[in-house]
């Protein structure tokens, strides 16, 4: 004899959550915005068909990489590294005070925090290449313009990332430092900085990685590095040489990312 199966539980099926009206409205708005955007930029697949033959010819020429061009790319690539190193170190150093003033936890007072945040918002609103264009126009071509452009870019990114990290620190050590009579700057130095230091170094590596990517193309505006060579070859339609430069950028960026990821994983 088998036992009879226990009676099915009689609890009612929970009622379906009522869908919020916001979601369909948001979706409709998104679709309309997308259609408007596509219309604004004259998005038209037929253009691809019309340009296809010319496009494929050019892509074919780029893929026909001129490997003998490599020796001429070495020196500009080294300059790209130098630009990225200087800009990353200076930018990250300058970002430290900006980050601490921008965080609720370590700000001096309300108005300096708000001012600092707005300055950072403005700095972050301009992309790296726009800075490069402005500095090239102001200082003439060369790596100095590229370095300055990337310093501003780095300042914006690092200050934002670091101030968000500082927002989340444990405030216990701060209280201890204050109780022991430390001034505000001493408190930050002795009880906040050590907590965020691993993140800071990790962000710095990440910014160096971003700078390598950026300084490969920043030269298109004349701001030094391998981008200058890329711009010159582009002006002469030397596509196999462009192919060589792109292969090199690709390999360098991948290697830097691998190295930086490995280091960052050890840090945090």
């Amino acid at each position: 004899m088998t036992k009879p199966a226990p009676a099915a539980p009689t609890t009612r099926r929970p009622s379906k959550p009522r869908p919020s009206l916001l979601l369909p409205l948001g979706l409709v708005a998104g679709v309309i915005f997308t259609l408007w955007a596509a219309w604004t930029i004259h998005f038209d697949v037929a253009r691809i068909a019309a340009n296809w033959d010319r496009g494929i010819t050019i892509i074919g020429e780029v893929l026909d990489v001129d490997w003998s061009f490599f020796p001429r790319t070495v020196e500009p690539m080294i300059q790209t590294f130098q630009i990225a190193i200087i800009a990353a170190i200076v930018g990250c150093a300058v970002a430290l005070p900006f980050a601490f003033i921008a965080s609720r936890v370590t700000a001096f007072n309300r108005w300096s925090m708000t001012l600092d945040r707005w300055v950072l918002n403005v700095i972050r609103a301009l992309p790296d290449l726009l800075y490069a264009m402005i500095f090239v126009a102001a200082l003439s071509v060369g790596p100095t313009a590229g370095i300055l452009a990337l310093i501003f870019f780095n300042l914006g990114v690092m200050a934002k990332l670091l101030s968000e990290t500082v927002d989340a620190v444990d405030t216990g050590p701060m209280e201890a430092a204050q109780a022991a009579g430390a001034t505000h700057v001493q408190t930050v130095r002795s009880s906040v900085l050590p907590q965020v230091l691993p993140n800071y170094v990790s962000f710095a590596l990440y910014i160096f990685e971003l700078n390598i990517r950026a300084s490969t193309v920043i030269g298109l505006t004349g701001a030094g590095g391998i981008g200058v060579l890329l711009g010159a070859q582009l002006a002469r339609f030397n596509f196999p040489q462009i192919g060589m430069i792109i292969v090199e950028i690709f390999v360098v960026v991948l290697l830097i990312e691998l190295a930086s990821n490995a280091l960052r994983r050890r840090l945090v």
Binding site: Q79, V157, L230, F239
Partner: protein
Amino acid sequence: MTERPQKPSALQRNLLFVAVGAVFLWAVIGVGIRWDRLLNLPERLLDIFGRMFLPPDWSFLPTAAEAMVESLAMAWVGTIIGAALSLPMGFLAARNVSGGALSTFARMILNAIRAVPELILAIVVFVPVAGLGPMAGALAIGVHSIGTLGKLTSEAIESIDPGPVEAARASGAGLVAQQRWSVLPQVLPEIAAFWLYRFEINLRAAAVLGIVGAGGIGALLANTLTYRRWDSAGMTVLVVIVGTIIVDQISGWVRRRIIEGSDGQPRAGDEAIADPSRTADVAS
């Protein structure tokens, strides 16, 4: 009486400082900074700043605003393309969904895409194929975004709660139905927030693609700077700043709303978006 503990060795840290300092010196000496020019740099910058913004060329505002709107449209279309294509790539790259050689292969493709900057994609692929103009820019932005968004999507999928997937499988759901009903609902808020964040980044890319003929406000700035029309260039820069900040604020508000829901409380499992190092990854 307890003894004061010994100070930990600072050797490793000091070695690191020396190494970074040495590399920095090598770079500064090697890059050939013109120190003589650097000395009058502040003066020169103030001069240019005055010409650009005191006052900017207000009559140039409609032209600049129109170009910025074009950049905005490029960035949006690019983000939509990137989001649509990165979603399936994210599922393919997630080890707990596809696994094995397939996910490794998908990861390699995503890494490769990320290593090619938008500008280069525009130069060698999309300007030749789509012609000069904002459509080329939107395509370049879209394809480049697949790399980052696909990687983040796969990471979000890998960190889901496996319970609902099991439940769906136990009730007879097929592979696709499992993804639709047990994986997607868990990751969609986080991924939608990543899409919006990427849109903010893409707007910045769309503002510069003009220098290679791929549309947007970048071409305007390049032209005005080449012809030394400083006040018009100043107006263009102002429009970029104001436009970008407005979009950032709106997009940031929507992102917070998506993550927190209507009750203002973060949904469970969505701490990732608040982690700066995760948001940092969206930008690469």
